[in-house]
C-alpha cells in the first residue's frame, strides 16, 4: 500500500511538472529525452562515487586495523548518509563537466 502511494505521488507530481514546464514555462517536450539521458548519466556518476567511497573507506579501515590494531567497524564505510553525499558529489561533478568548453 505504502509503495503504491509513493509511486502514485511521484507519477502525479511528474505529470504536473511536465504540464507546468510545457504550458507555463514554454519548454519543449522533445527535450525531455535528452534530460532523461543526462539524469541517467548523473545516476551513473552517483553510483561510481558511492562505490569509490565505500571501497576506499573499507580499505582505509582494514589498513588501520592491520597497522594499529584499532577496533574500527567496516560498517562505518557503509553509512547510508554516503548515498546522499555521493549524489551531491555527482551533482557537482556533472555541473563541472558541463562547464567545460
Amino acid at each position: 500500500m505504502r509503495s503504491l502511494v509513493v509511486l502514485a505521488l511521484v507519477v502525479a507530481t511528474s505529470l504536473a511538472a511536465v504540464a507546468i514546464g510545457a504550458r507555463g514555462l514554454g519548454l519543449d517536450r522533445r527535450a525531455l529525452r535528452g534530460a532523461g539521458a543526462r539524469a541517467l548519466e548523473w545516476a551513473g556518476l552517483a553510483t561510481l562515487f558511492l562505490a569509490a567511497n565505500v571501497a576506499v573507506g573499507a580499505l582505509v579501515i582494514l589498513a588501520l586495523r592491520a597497522l594499529t590494531g584499532a577496533s574500527i567497524s567496516v560498517y562505518l564505510a557503509s553509512d547510508r548518509v554516503l548515498v546522499l553525499l555521493s549524489a551531491l558529489q555527482a551533482t557537482i561533478f556533472q555541473a563541472w563537466r558541463a562547464s567545460r568548453p
Binding site: R2, S3, V6, L7, D28, R30, A31, G34, A35, A37, R38, A39, L40, E41, W42, A43, G44, L45, A46, T47, L48, A58, R65, S71, V74, Y75, S78, R80, Q94, R97, A98, R100
Partner: protein, 218 residues
C-alpha cells in the same frame, strides 16, 4: 536547452563512450533501486540467506554482536532483536546458558547492556555470560571457542540476523562448534524505505562474505 540537445557525452563527441557507460550504469542502478524498494526482492534475499533455522536443544545460546549501543546506553534495533530472540530461546528451554557477545573490551558495552537486560527480565545471573573482547565475527568465534570448548560446550544455538547467518555459521563451524542456526525474523520489511535499508545491508554482508572467503576464514 533545445529540443534536439544531446546529452553531455554525445555533445562532446569523443566522450560519448564514457557518457554511454554512465547512462548504462545509471539505468542499472535505478533499476536495482526500484526493484529493491518496490518489490519483495530484499525480503526474498533475506529469507534465502537465513536458511533453515534449527531450533533444537543445545549447550549454549550464543548471541552475536550487532550495532552496539548508542551513547545513551540504548541497544540498537538489531542488537535488541537478537537479545530478545535469545531470551525467547532460553525461555523455551533450548539451552541453559546465554552468551552475549559484543564490545571491544572485556565486558564491552553492548554485551554488558544485553546481560543487564536479560537479568532484568528474570534470567538467572548464572545463566548469563558476557563473551570475550572481539572486533569481528571471526574474533567472536575464536574467542568463544577458546572460552567454551574448554568447558565442553560445542553445540550452540547461534543467534544472528538472517543476512549475517551464512558467514557467521561458517566461521563458527570452522572453529569447531556444532552450529544450530537461530536467525531472527527472516520475513523482511514491507515498506520501501526499510527494504532499501535491508538491500544495503545485504550488499555489505555479501562483500563481507567474499572477504572472509578470500581470507580463508570460511
Amino acid at each position: 536547452m533545445g529540443a534536439a540537445e544531446p546529452s553531455l557525452g554525445r555533445r562532446r563527441g569523443g566522450r560519448g563512450a564514457a557518457a554511454h557507460g554512465l547512462r548504462v550504469l545509471g539505468a542499472a542502478a535505478l533499476l536495482v533501486l526500484a526493484l529493491g524498494a518496490f518489490t519483495p526482492l530484499a525480503s526474498l534475499a533475506n529469507i534465502w540467506m537465513a536458511g533453515s533455522g534449527r531450533l533444537e536443544p543445545a549447550q549454549a545460546i550464543v548471541v552475536l554482536a550487532r550495532g552496539g549501543a548508542d551513547a545513551d546506553g540504548v541497544l540498537t534495533n538489531s542488537s535488541l532483536r537478537r537479545t530478545m530472540h535469545a531470551l525467547d530461546l532460553y525461555r523455551r528451554g533450548l539451552a541453559p546458558l546465554i552468551v552475549f557477545s559484543g564490545g571491544i573490551a572485556e565486558g564491552g558495552a553492548e554485551a554488558r547492556l544485553r546481560a543487564q537486560l536479560a537479568r532484568g527480565l528474570g534470567v538467572p545471573a548464572d545463566a548469563v555470560e558476557i563473551g570475550p573482547a572481539a572486533r569481528t565475527t571471526r574474533d567472536e568465534a575464536r574467542g568463544l571457542a577458546a572460552r567454551l570448548h574448554g568447558r565442553g560446550i560445542r553445540r550452540i544455538l547461534l543467534v544472528a540476523n538472517p543476512i549475517d547467518m551464512p558467514r557467521a555459521r561458517g566461521v563458527f563451524a570452522r572453529v569447531g562448534f556444532t552450529v544450530l542456526p537461530a536467525p531472527t525474523a527472516a520475513s523482511g520489511p514491507s515498506q520501501p524505505e526499510d527494504r532499501l535499508a535491508l538491500l544495503t545491508d545485504i550488499g555489505v554482508e555479501l562483500l563481507g562474505l567474499v572477504y572472509y572467503r578470500l581470507a580463508g576464514w570460511l
